[in-house]
Symmetry: C2
Subunit: 179 residues, 2 copies
Amino acid sequence: MPKVTQGHLDARRQQIVDAARVRFASHGFARTSMADLVAASGLSTGAIYRDFSSKDEIVTAICEQSSGEVFPTELTAESVHGMLERIRSRAREHDHARLVAQIYAEAALAPPLAAIVDRQFAELRSTVASLLCDRTDDDAARIAEGFVAVCVGYSQQLAVRGDLDPSPFATALMAILEH
Amino acid sequence: MPKVTQGHLDARRQQIVDAARVRFASHGFARTSMADLVAASGLSTGAIYRDFSSKDEIVTAICEQSSGEVFPTELTAESVHGMLERIRSRAREHDHARLVAQIYAEAALAPPLAAIVDRQFAELRSTVASLLCDRTDDDAARIAEGFVAVCVGYSQQLAVRGDLDPSPFATALMAILEH
């Protein structure tokens, strides 16, 4: 067998994940087969099945890669607005909001995927709570719930309504943080 | 032909819509065929096609019926908490949050459905804004955006995470209203 470098393997895996994101965002999961993903990735069936035994495994890889990319690093008005602008950019440039809508809908039907998405919500809540050093743990947890709800509500509406100015959502986040 | 009363026609139509809600919430749209809806409703194929020419028309009927049911009538802490409790009850008793997740995902892919969902978001924003009499129109519109985002974020998380105490979300809504 020819030697295959780790870099080559990683690149191939990424090629599959990237093709799957595009396809899931435009068609949803149920209307996408492994054969569609083979066609979309430009790789062979064998190449895909070496990395992923099922569509569910590709969805899991997509979810795991998405995590943390837009998390805030501080909770100033500027930083919060910047976070929403990153969510907006990913929606416009990578169709990410439509992909996320498909992921939530599938997670609502599939407990293993729900567990992954649930963990991501918890990670974002925990990131937000950790930045609220002057609050009690209970207050920080409560505020983080509201914070994540606005982010989810913004992203879902980008998927359905199309591009939206993040300003009113940023103001809502600051209201929740400052309450 | 035998005489059929309007009441009977309405009841049959409702029987189809109710069966479709259950099926869509548990399987999503793409995995549900008109044949599945015939089986789930207990009616004949002919009976269903007399009322609805396609799955999309049934989805539209579901969306149109859902509108307004949980809208707030005033914006006190008690009323806002009550609204979230109604969203929670509908999720627990009628699997409504999972259904809504399927509707958003489908709306993200299908512009005619997106237009219906978009109109429902606008109606809720407009209801909220109309209750903010002491605010300027711009402020009321901005607050209403944040308000709807929390409701959407709460509902989506009920679909993915399961039952959730509405209290932190109610506090977030009050923070947005009072900011």
